[in-house]
Assembly symmetry: C2
Homo-oligomer: 314 residues x 2
């Protein structure tokens, strides 16, 4: 009989984990941690009573707590999965109740601001190791989570200078247990990399959907009908959670403005080429981009299927 | 026994069609026309001998011709499927050989320029009815075509003022036979609608992929690894055929510059909101876009599946 591809660890990596914020990412961590047998107890907390009620119905946590203090008490790993703008208040409320030796982590899309806001509030003896899983869908909320969200995706850890190496290794093992590949880098570099790979694309996508919405000469019905010609690729990421994305842009201002400045410079060159009918510049620009696309597919971060990888008849 | 969902027409809609240009769209028309039994003979021509050879191997045309004149001779429907920039030369060469009463059409992404370039070359008695199927993939060439490319998508016809109504109806029936839904509008409106739904998204996507490529502080490997965070949605359309897209921007300059101007205005507002930390403007902008996304999914022009509708493990 062939050996199974993966087996649960005989002893869970953590006796208790606490997930603070039970939206798409928090609930997916719960699902995946259970699948991987990574925690003896999965405790959950959310600021919204309705979200806790939904989580109770769905059953992805072992224990659910209206009281943040009860959720984090005795937890070996506490993961903040709320919008980044809420971290400071959560960290302040949770700090007195954190277990000495616990790992405090998060899943926020910006890391410099998290270090700045949460770092000073971390009690001595608690190991603070921010993290960011590069995974998501266009859906939000506790119903949106699923166990395979992180499979094959990357998670980036940004331990502060001098962080405890053993704690970093345990958090790394946790994310690997959730299905991720793990990278480690400093927070400033993370924020620049994500500014170009994620934050700028979202800003641009939100913007173009807004522009289309406001055009008087083209109806919204026309935009929707003919969206398969390119537009729909932007609506996908422009449907992401508004609160989360507001907080991203409020908390990664410098890096976003830097890459946006570069984007605008480059766009001016293309705009001039269109105005002047400079076909060579257009052709050269349009020819450079296929190699990146091929590499993304080869890295397993995308599907090369026809019709843009989507089954349009469903 | 239940009736089959569709049956080939007892008599083909056209005795002979000629497809000029055997890339993704031309070859897909051939595949779909054969599937639908729409033509007694599917003739093909391409400027490239290598493409003709590939088409011969794949067998999607009944007859293949190095000589354009032979391809269009006696054809009841001639469809230009080459890049728009090549139309004028093709139309000049084909005009003396077109059958009186034939329909001349095309599949170009711009329609005003096609009317301007090709219209004056159309011999009396030939009915010129430009068309544009809103369908595509990121792949090019005769191997990329497939019979279901147009199923459920929209095709737009832009008959010139005073066009023969019967010819419009026959072309409409042809596109419906290929699997499309059909709309009719004037060329100028088509060009504005496509400028916002297709041309601007492509320009933006090409641009952001170029910006990412040129950033010194972020390696291309990092961009590729973390592309699932948003960037990859842009690489998909930025991998489209460079020659085709150069010709689109050279031939729809006014409408593209108009929507690009609007896009830039809107982006300036978002840029200022980021710089000034104006969370309300960001949140309001990000909240408006979900409704459009939902409508696109409801219209069947997109899949709502998790992980952005893609099976990432394949």
């Amino acid at each position: 009989m062939p050996a199974p591809l993966s087996v649960p660890l005989p002893v869970p990596l953590f006796a208790k984990i606490a997930i603070i914020g039970l939206g798409l990412i928090g609930s997916s961590i719960a699902h995946a941690a259970r699948r991987g047998g990574l925690a003896g107890e999965i405790a959950g907390h959310d600021a919204s009573a309705a979200v806790i009620e939904t989580a109770r119905t769905l059953g992805f946590c072992d224990t659910l707590h209206d009281d943040l203090a009860l959720a984090v008490r005795e937890a070996d790993l506490v993961i903040l999965c709320a919008p980044v703008g809420a971290y400071k208040a959560i960290a302040q409320a949770a700090a007195p109740h954190l277990k000495p030796g616990a790992i405090l982590s998060d899943v926020g899309s910006v890391k410099g601001a998290v270090m700045r806001d949460v770092g000073p509030l971390v009690p001595p003896g608690v190991r603070f190791i921010p993290a960011h899983p590069i995974a998501g869908t266009e859906f939000s909320g506790p119903e949106a989570g699923f166990a395979t969200l992180f499979d094959g995706r990357w998670a980036i850890l940004t331990p502060p200078p001098g962080a405890d190496a053993q704690a970093v290794d345990r958090l790394k093992a946790f994310w690997q247990g959730l299905g991720s590949q793990v990278d480690v880098m400093d927070a400033a570099h993370h924020d620049l990399v994500l500014a170009i790979t994620s934050h700028l694309p979202h800003l641009i996508a939100y913007n173009i959907v807004g522009t289309a919405h406001d055009l008087e000469a083209v109806t919204e019905g026309e935009v929707i009908k003919y969206s398969a010609s390119g537009f729909r690729d932007f609506t996908r990421i422009a449907a992401s959670d508004p609160t989360m994305w507001r907080d991203v842009f409020l908390n990664n201002r410098e890096a976003v403005l830097e890459v946006l400045g570069r984007f605008n410079e480059d766009l001016s060159i293309l705009q001039r080429a269109v105005r002047e009918g400079d076909g060579q510049t257009l052709f050269d620009t349009f020819s450079r981009t296929r190699a990146i696309r091929r590499a993304i597919i080869e890295m397993g971060q995308e599907s090369p299927a026809p019709n843009f990888g989507r089954d349009l008849k469903e």
